[in-house]
């Protein structure tokens, strides 16, 4: 071959950077209701295209349209709305607590409330969740006490995790909420193992897991998908594509070339892509995937297309890498506003009720926080230091006993 071209290295870059005007016009938002809903027993290879579409139910007027409409009763919808509002209020309070020096770190899920709360309502209570750090909504939905969450965040004497974990790394077996790892992605493949165990035992509980779109780049994503495919594990594999992984836009994770839902195709796992800010749509796809899993038809990969409305964490300042008001321009809106609009549209809700509820959830959070703070915040009233040496093993081995003695506790 003569006169070969010079190669050049391509580096993906986001459309806008600080100083630019947010512009999402390149994102094609299909109208709601236009994606057919196959039977949940469909063969994966018959629905490959769905991975490139966007399942939406709520239209701009707040009407629920199309085959994916889960036809939920207003009570469930109102419950969802309240939980999303509660979660957001909780996040706001804890964020402030960190700014006040009451803890070291916090992470919000603002704008992404639907991707944990709708699934939590669609799943059965016995189903096991393997979340990332941005699914606090699961815990609140499943009735985990907010005070306990706060005590964890404050690493105080009532912290159920005895001060051992970074704030927000909750754990509650009783609520089917797997202990959060600081190491990204590890839960994804573990969830598949849990689901395999459930299948092995002839149990009827399924598993669900959540991973950020950035984290799909980890090997665990591939391990999880592959094991789920090979053993047809009863598991729902959620990818939360909130467009950002700290400062890296989703193109750095491979999002420029294909959708994340499409990753399922090569494994023969159905890939659904859903408007993650559409509570009804998220509920519907979860239901579909759960039905499939319960019928021993294996895993579903769901890409939740959403937007991380705030910084990555309290350690982050998103204005350093993206336009200031990008979140406000996100074309799929806000999940709370959209569900509220829907409830009002169907006559089950009003602005007044909404305003009252907003006050209520803030009051709930305030009360919980008051109690939690009464048990201490980071550095004041911690758990007993002795406990530092416990739970490394079931029984404490001699060397840890001696180390505890050395510390004199």
């Amino acid at each position: 071959m003569q006169n070969k071209k010079k190669l050049s290295l391509y580096i993906p870059q986001p459309e806008q950077r600080p100083g630019d005007i947010p512009d999402f016009s390149k994102i094609v938002i299909p109208p709601p209701g236009n994606v057919p809903r196959p039977d949940s027993a469909v063969a994966a290879h018959d629905i490959r295209d769905i991975a490139f579409k966007l399942i939406r139910v709520l239209d701009n007027d707040g009407k629920a349209v199309g085959p994916w409409n889960p036809r939920l009763d207003p009570e469930t919808l109102k419950r969802g709305l309240r939980l999303m509002m509660l979660t957001r209020a909780y996040d706001d309070r804890m964020y402030r607590a960190q700014r006040q020096g009451k803890t070291s770190f916090y992470m919000k899920c603002t704008g992404e409330e639907a991707v944990s709360i709708a699934p939590a309502l669609a799943l059965d209570p016995g189903d096991m969740c393997f979340p990332s750090y941005r699914q606090q909504g699961l815990l609140l939905t499943r009735g985990y006490p907010m005070v306990d969450m706060m005590c964890q965040v404050y690493s105080n004497v009532r912290d159920p995790l005895k001060g051992r974990q970074l704030p927000i790394m909750y754990s509650s077996k009783a609520h089917g909420f797997f202990t959060i790892s600081g190491n990204l992605g590890t839960q994804f493949s573990q969830a598949v193992g849990w689901a395999m165990a459930s299948a092995y035992k002839g149990d009827d509980r399924i598993a669900a897991t959540w991973i950020g779109e950035g984290t799909t780049a980890e090997g665990d994503f591939h391990q999880g998908l592959n094991f789920a495919s090979v053993y047809r594990a009863p598991v729902i594999l959620n990818v939360v594509n909130n467009q950002w992984a700290i400062s890296s836009f989703q193109g750095i994770a491979g999002g420029e070339q294909a959708t994340f839902a499409a990753r399922g195709i090569g494994y023969g796992v159905p890939g659904l892509r859903v408007d993650g800010n559409d509570f009804l749509a998220v509920f519907a796809v979860t239901q579909w995937a759960a039905e499939r899993a319960r019928n021993n038809l294996g895993a579903t990969l769901i890409e939740h297309y959403t937007y991380r409305a705030e910084g990555h964490s309290t350690s982050d300042d998103p204005s350093r890498y993206r336009p200031m008001d990008e979140a406000k321009n996100w074309p799929l809106g806000d999940p709370i506003v959209r569900l509220k609009t829907h409830l009002i549209a169907i006559g089950a809700w009003s602005e007044a009720e909404h305003e009252k509820q907003q006050k209520d959830v803030i009051e709930d959070v305030r009360a919980a926080n008051k109690e939690a703070e009464s048990y201490g915040t980071l550095g004041t009233n911690p758990p007993s230091v002795k406990t530092m040496f416990e739970d490394v093993y079931k029984e404490m081995p001699w060397h840890l006993r001696r180390q505890r003695q050395e510390l004199g506790v």
Partner: protein
Amino acid sequence: MATMNMIQAINSAMAVMLERDPNVLVFGEDVGYFGGVFRATEGLQKKFGITRCFDTPIGEGGIIAAAIGMGAYGLRPVVEIQFADYIYPGYDQIVSEAARLRYRSAGDFWCPITVRTPYGGGIFGGQTHSQSPEALFTHVAGIKTVIPSTPYDAKGLLISAIEDEDPVIFLEPKRIYNGPFDGHHERPVSPWAQHPASEVPEGYYTVPLGKAAIAREGSDLTVLAYGTMVHVALAAAADAGVDAEVIDLRTMLPLDIDAIVKSVEKTGRCVIVHEATRTSGFGAELTALVQEYCFYHLEAPIERVAGWDTPYPHAFEWQYFPGPGRVADAMRRAMGK
């Protein structure tokens, strides 16, 4: 009682546990129908069914992650990593996850998994079928590390590992699967059948984790060894004409410090032997502990005999392997000879 080699003993341990406990299951690359490249799982799939002993994709990270998820569910998975050299793709799941579930969840979650994997050289496996990675696990709080040196111990320790509530890395010295190789590669290896520890009960029994065994009593010096090296140390003691007390550690972590201290206090001299590369090997920790606990009893520097700090080269198997010649030299040095 039956006569078993180490592979048979390991197979028997899994069979016993599959029989006793429906929560035990066995999986890994080629372990199902085929029975494993070293035949450790031979017959288990046939006997217990395809969901209790099965093949996995070639993804050590996935294997261990799946085991962790199953462990969190309540099962007791026993996984095989085909060679210890291939455990690294699963290292993150072991170190960051299996080892920490219990601690980080304050006892809410844990995973009683057993990771079996053949390790060590002496079979002309070259640099990727010969490694001894035990020190990469002993540094990690939350996991236990076990290495047997006889069929009897292998079965008893493996059953203990499977029943243990913590994750256990169970390293199998593949060079002695078939016989107690003592490092004299120029001589024929006797089969296990001629060794008393090949008498293995067919049913259930345990050898406790965390307890060393005295492979040979002696008064001149203490040898700390495990796996294949126990047999090498015994041969070296004979060759060197030293009345060595050879301690077979059996569990690296938690370590049987009392057995070590008692012996070194008696002998005043210590030789540590392992096949892993020397620098930052487990011998370093043993040396540190012995000098910390027995400083005033030591009459000579503690000697370490270990693999060189190079990969394990195919053609120089016996120049790399810390054989009886090198161990005997170290014994003589320790004795001031």
